[in-house]
């Protein structure tokens, strides 16, 4: 499947949760499959921390650049593009095409950098709604996402209940735990304490805080994998034996450094700070005295909630909180707890039970 990146410009200012507003903005997106005449077969895919609008397929001139959820989305796949019109959209504040810290600030004529406002999950949902409207879609057949993307799907369900028929909330949580926030803060500190960060104005110094980003990504990666998975994949394996040095000797060290360095080449530090902050802030129950059931009360969608037993970043217990709140409201909800070994990353991988439940759920969704 060949994917074609597109961009939509929105000239109307977007008010943000912080009180600031974006004067105008662009959203990068891709679509797969065909929108039917009734415009009733659209599924919006929300991405997690470091992904983008490139959900499925490859680009014509980049045959190796496979979309991040290509195992899930495509012709004949669980999210079947022969049936559904699938939209992948890049979040505001990202560094992959939607307006973000790397974009030109119309007020100054230079990149936003550290001046890009903090955006929230709610801001993302508001901005994505405008794209959905632009595409002429009144009501989405489904909104779907994993991890931070799952939080966005959940946010759609109560913020714009009339706009979606189904919500697929995968490997998500109703908010971050103190431990989650702690990991995010360590990652942010790694970036901000990098001398090349320059308070976020690194672009004007013609440098990038690569070391900080590398460490941030290494920390993240540890939390995405289960202990067992790390043990079976790397164990205490050494690359060449002990050299009594601090060069990467253990397999796990070289893996994390490789992942971190790769990430630091393509990801923007200001984006990382903002995305982790959006995660930290997300807490729909906060405005309802801590009562998640009250927050979810307006939802009318059918829910599919999925968690993975070895996910310790967003554990099954967190998904069960969402399920409990939905049951309290007597919403239509199905909950699958997949016994996958991979940890949080399982939501991106090929587990037949996981993919099978998504396929079965969507096969009953009217297009």
């Amino acid at each position: 499947m060949i994917a074609i990146p597109q961009s939509a410009h929105f000239a109307e200012p977007l008010p943000l949760a912080s009180g600031a507003s974006l004067r105008a903005y662009d959203l990068a997106y891709e679509t797969y499959g065909a929108l039917n005449a009734a415009k009733s077969n659209a599924i919006l895919i929300c991405h997690a921390l470091n992904a983008s609008h490139h959900v499925a397929g490859v680009y014509e001139n980049e045959p190796d650049n496979l979309g991040w959820w290509d195992n899930m989305v495509g012709p004949g796949k669980p999210v079947d593009t022969d049936k559904f019109f699938v939209i992948g959209v890049n979040n505001l504040g990202s560094c992959f095409g939607s307006t973000g810290p790397l974009s030109i600030n119309p007020d100054s004529g230079t990149p936003y950098g550290a001046d890009f406002p903090l955006v929230t999950v709610e801001d993302w949902v508001d901005s994505h709604l405008r794209l959905v409207e632009r595409l002429g879609i009144d009501k989405l057949a489904a909104v779907m996402g994993g991890s931070l993307g799952g939080m966005q799907a959940m946010c759609w369900s109560y913020r714009y209940p009339a706009r979606l028929a189904n919500a697929l909330v995968i490997a998500a949580a109703p908010n971050l735990s103190a431990q989650n926030i702690a990991f995010n803060e360590v990652a942010r500190q790694a970036i901000m304490s990098d001398p090349a960060f320059h308070g976020g104005a690194f672009a004007s110094h013609h440098v990038k805080p690569r070391d900080g980003l590398t460490v941030a990504r290494m920390i993240g990666h540890i939390t995405y994998i289960s202990d067992d998975q790390m043990e079976s994949k790397f164990g205490r394996g050494l690359r060449e034996g002990k050299n009594f040095s601090f060069a990467p000797e253990f397999q796990i060290e070289s893996y994390l450094r490789y992942q971190g360095e790769k990430f630091s080449e393509y990801y923007d530090a200001n984006t990382y700070l903002r995305v982790t902050k959006a995660l930290d802030y997300y807490d729909p129950a906060l405005d309802h005295g801590g009562d998640l059931a009250k927050a979810l009360a307006p939802a009318t969608a059918r829910f599919l909630v999925i968690s993975f037993t070895t996910d310790w970043r967003f554990s099954p217990a967190r998904s069960r909180e969402i399920v409990k709140a939905l049951l309290h409201n007597k919403k239509n909800v199905t909950y699958a707890e997949v016994d996958a070994p991979h940890g949080h990353d399982a939501f991106l991988l090929d587990d037949p039970r996981y993919l099978g439940v998504v396929r079965a759920f969507l096969s009953r969704v009217a297009a």
Partner: protein, 193 residues
């Protein structure tokens, strides 16, 4: 295992438009039946991956959960009926499960194979653990850990001061009003606190 006659009996007990929680719901066929015959709204609880997939295919709301760990996601009195069909005997914490049923439901409906059925008694008389249509397992591979007879369950309800609202004992597909504990293969109870 569950026959259409069981469905009929349970369906007869369930009021139209009520809310139902089916514990150990398998493929969700009882809930589908109750949706069609009684217009109920409901959820199944199932621990098995295959059951979850079948429920989703059948359009039944299902929550993947182990009954033994309780029904923590469900509030007090959330359902009109909580059904446990042919699963009671496989519970380790049987009494706690019954307590949970009556915490989250107004009424409980329980069905179980009658260990007191004469063929079971005869097999024990001849020195063997019972194996039958309703108890198809060998002693070494059975999931059943807490078997009981109709008389035992009556005594259990009495001790716990549970009010039995309906009781039906069946021999295969037929009702067994005479000598139910001796001639019945399957017992169905509807009870409340």
């Amino acid at each position: 295992m569950i026959t259409r006659k069981d469905f009929e009996a349970i369906s007869h007990w369930v009021q139209p438009d009520s809310s139902v929680l089916d514990l150990g719901c398998g493929d969700g066929s009882l809930l589908v039946n109750l949706q069609q015959t009684r217009n109920i709204t409901g959820y199944g609880i199932e621990n098995d991956d295959a059951g979850i997939l079948q429920c989703v295919n059948n359009g039944v709301n299902v929550i993947q959960s182990n009954l033994e760990s309780g029904l923590k996601e469900i509030g007090d009195g959330a359902f009109d009926y909580v059904i446990l069909s042919q699963t009671l005997q496989a519970m380790k914490r049987t009494e706690a499960v019954v307590d949970e049923m009556l915490r989250v439901g107004r009424e409980a409906i329980v069905t179980f194979p009658n260990f007191g059925y004469w063929r079971h008694r005869w097999q024990i008389m001849t020195g063997h653990m019972p194996v039958s249509d309703n108890l198809p397992y060998q002693w070494y591979d059975t999931p059943n850990v807490h078997m009981c007879t109709v008389a035992d369950f009556d005594a259990f309800c009495e001790r716990k001061k549970l009010r039995v609202l309906s009781r039906l004992v069946m021999n295969h597909d037929r009702e067994q009003p005479v000598l139910p504990n001796l001639l019945g293969t399957l017992a169905l109870y509807r009870f409340t606190k």
